[in-house]
Amino acid sequence: MQITGAQALVKSLEMEGVEVVFGMPGGAILPVYDPMLDTSIRHILVRHEQGAGHAAEGYAHATGRPGVAIVTSGPAATNIVTALADAYMDSIPLVVITGQVARPYIGTDAFQESDTTGITMGVTKHNWLVTDPNDIPEVVAAAFYIATTGRPGPVLIDLPKDVSNAMMEWHWPESVDELDLPGYHPATTVDQDIIEQAVDLICNSERPVMYVGGGVIKSNASDELLELAEMTGIPVVTTLMARSAFPSAHPLSLGMPGMHGNYTAVTAMQRSDLLISLGARFDDRVTGRVDAFAPEAKVIHVDIDPAELGKIRRPDVAICGDCKPVIEELIHGLKRRDVSGGIDDGNYRVTSRRDISPWLSTIHGWQERYPLIYHQSKEGELLKPQMVIETLRELTPDDTILVTGVGQHQMWASMFWKFKMPRTFVTSGGLGTMGFAVPAAIGAKVGHPERMVWAIDGDGCFQMTAQELVTAAAEGIPVKIAILNNAYLGMVRQWQELFYDERYSEVYLSPDLPDYVKWAEAMGCVGMRVDSPNDVAPVIEKANSIDDRPVVIDFRTDAFEKVYPMVPAGASNDDIILFPGQEEYASGVKEAGSSDSMADSKDEAGASGAGITEAGEGKVESR
């Protein structure tokens, strides 16, 4: 059957089971948009190509399936580079198809020509410039195979216009074995000896911590992680990319580590004698100064990417493999030895494993002394962003997907949201892409139309990609956006306050310019504004009741609020800065010495306007 290259591309996407693509047409990709009229694949027309990329990422985050975007050449291709870089850093499976000028024009500085494969080489797992229409099926099949296997990541196919227009004989590779990929062999099996070595370390550790990263989410290994944690009683920290991998309310959940991690998660890692790193990569935002990070800890490092093993920290046991089967192997290995010490003692008998209960009580002491806290706003003051996030969580279903941009609001969301199910947190981690939230929320909602999708966004972030709400309104994608509007580039302001002597340089944005309510309405959304604490819950409930349009809420929040705890960039995690006044709070707990008295001290704090919530324990105290 003779068909055009463009038809072959669309047919190949159908063969891969693609249900939706995000994109925008243009000159060089025109041939591909003609057969798009005849396919069952849904096309969502974005308003900017960066939005197509982030929407595809949001879809992939939320569903685990690869996100697909189609854009034209030149400026469209460069516009989607940010999304590729974001997906590359966070290991998100993405297949991006770009148009390219016709083959005879390549290299001539033709209209809308850019060296797309050259530009994206460093931010993709692999890319292709297709020079023969007969290659299209194999290239598409290889693209999906590479994007979704091993360490997932973005790939790009650059398709010259004349290749799209040329005729080819349709065929489809029966299996990946037919693909010509002699250099691609993602990790498959794990050596039993190495599992035994890891089990030895676990049995001999007295202060173990599980350091869980995004790999556990990608591997769909949350159930296995929960089993391993409950079987062994080993506490769990979840990085920004893994916040939804383990239930926040679980007694073994310590919360988020790192620069804005809570005291217990940070300090448990620092004092640990064994870090069991599962799909995490020792990012600088987690380790702080590397040579001062968890100095006494041995390390079991599980990662599907062999290049991560030893890149930052030399592991004592390196396991190259997918988290899910590796965790299963660890569970089997531990069961074979009949050891536990876990909280579910009824099922397992402790034989030779070291007792970790002193460690767990030390950790529990930290949790009591150093919970995440903030002060409630006084009469007439602006809203506290933490309070907005906590209220939002209380009023939304368990399976709500939370999406964020990047900055203070992201850190507060990660700290104060109670995660209950995997793949319910969609955020930009490694690249730290402001403007991620709105388009990513659209992608997540397209992937899970039956679920509620809320974006918590900053005012600075929102202004970067808000135009995609037009896409959402036009396509009937009812996402909900909570702007924590403090009228500042908040995180930059925080750094200028703390590290640049309060010399605020180019961080003020204004709360009223733009008018977010009018802007939302102009984009076909419902716009609402909240500036009183009493209105927070009712307005959220109203937003939850709207399901035919996107909703934007402009929450007027306090610009003086800072993200604490904080480890300054480049400092040791031992030098963690607590919430101001927390030391006094902690010493009050110490003197009182019992949980009843602790409640008293909370009441006192409440009288002076302090709100208190447990770090990662899910005990939201009354305030």
């Binding site: 410039l129 002699p182 030893g310």
Partner: protein, 165 residues
């Protein structure tokens, strides 16, 4: 002065890659993006036309060898990588040099080329072009000895290497 090729932080890696356009750019791009330094680089087809071999000498002051190899291995077009320890490798390089050679010293240079088993490949009125192949350290020695005569131009290929049998 110690010759550069004798430095201990240099390692040879032999990288078998798919013979496709842009592969060298991927390898070179990875080196620069990850902050690794390439000391020398040679690329040529192999007996199998699907593959080419890149012989790279890398400067290990910039990164651990293991990390360089792991990152290279992640490139889809990289088929296999061998680290060639100097003791386990046959190394060779080619040198072309144009040397000033007035009549009175021409004989000395020709003699030197003879000792090193090189060849005179071009002769001018006041200069000679010589060719020498061999182990890079031999080329270093030769280069040092001809330098006093006045080198007009010199070009070396970068080393190629194979494992010892």
């Amino acid at each position: 002065m110690k010759a550069a090729t004798g430095m201990e932080h240099l390692h040879i890696i032999s990288v078998l890659v798919e013979n496709k356009s842009g592969v060298l750019a991927r390898v070179a791009g990875l080196f620069s993006r990850r902050g690794f330094n390439i000391y020398s680089l040679a690329v040529a087809p192999t007996d199998d036309k699907r593959f080419s071999r890149i012989t790279a000498v890398v400067d290990l002051d910039s990164a651990p060898l293991e990390q360089i190899i792991m990152q290279l291995d992640k490139l889809i077009n990289v088929v296999s990588i061998n680290e060639l320890a100097p003791s386990d490798a046959i190394e060779a390089e080619l040198l072309l040099a144009t040397v000033k050679s007035d009549n009175d010293i021409r004989g000395q240079i020709i003699q030197l080329v003879g000792v090193f088993e090189g060849k005179i490949v071009d002769v001018g009125i006041a200069s000679l072009t010589v060719m020498l192949a061999g182990h890079p350290s031999k080329l270093d020695d030769f280069e040092e000895l001809i330098r006093p005569y006045g080198i007009v131009d010199i070009q070396r290929t970068g080393r190629v290497a194979l494992s010892r049998l």
